[in-house]
């Protein structure tokens, strides 16, 4: 099982999904209402490391985080 967390202003509960890569997650979230803008402006981390390829493999227990635009300070 993969846990998917939506951080900061994204008002969405975490998901538990049976997927093996980010491409599958993209497919699911693209079909989810009200996610389009967040998909466009958010970065993705797997186990708290930012990733830049959809082919990133996921294994049981991994945590995927979706990070919308930031503004600290």
């Amino acid at each position: 099982m993969i846990r998917v967390e939506f951080l900061g202003p994204i008002q969405k509960d975490a998901l538990a999904l049976d997927i093996t890569n980010l491409r599958a997650l993209a497919t699911i979230l693209q079909a989810t209402p009200d996610m389009k803008e967040w998909l466009e402006n958010s970065a993705i981390a797997v186990n708290d490391t930012l990733v830049t390829t959809l082919d990133f493999p996921l294994k049981d227990g991994d945590k995927v985080s979706m990070l919308p635009p930031v503004c600290g300070g």
Partner: protein, 145 residues
């Protein structure tokens, strides 16, 4: 040294603590950057969400960069609500020489604004409104779009 605080920062005491901690470390230059909430756009303050695991990783990468130059960094940030004229952010660098410190504080603060996993909200009329238009998409965003 990265420390998160609930609410506004006690700037004077944090700066005193950091300066005192390094008082015999033989750093010739110490530059803190202090960020304070401005009274603008009719806000009552700002509020912050922080994703701490990734913030710590981001900070550790900068600790390593500092070390390469013989420097160290210390940072403090607020969690939750911070009112007008309170401070929410202090970044600082200590280094043997001034040029390293002057260049490092600039690069560190700019990357913080662009990359640190912190989300800002305006506090206005009892609401907490995400400051999307002042926020920056992290490099590599849009991967799942």
């Amino acid at each position: 040294m990265l420390k998160l605080y609930d609410g506004g920062l006690e700037v004077a005491s944090i700066l005193k603590e950091w300066y005192t901690e390094e008082s015999t470390s033989n750093y010739g230059a110490f530059i803190p950057f202090v960020g304070t909430i401005r009274d603008e756009d009719g806000i009552d303050g700002l509020s912050f969400d922080i994703y701490e695991p990734l913030l710590e990783k981001w900070f550790e990468a900068w600790v390593a960069k500092a070390k390469e130059q013989g420097a160290i960094i210390k940072m403090a940030h607020s969690r939750g609500d911070v009112l007008l004229h309170e401070s929410s952010y202090i970044a600082s660098v200590f280094s043997p020489k001034r040029r390293v410190a002057l260049e490092f504080i600039d690069a560190f603060v700019e990357d913080f604004k662009a990359s640190a996993p912190i989300w800002k909200y305006d506090l206005k009329n009892g609401e907490r409104i995400y400051a999307l238009e002042r926020s920056t998409a992290i490099e590599g965003s849009g991967l799942l779009a």
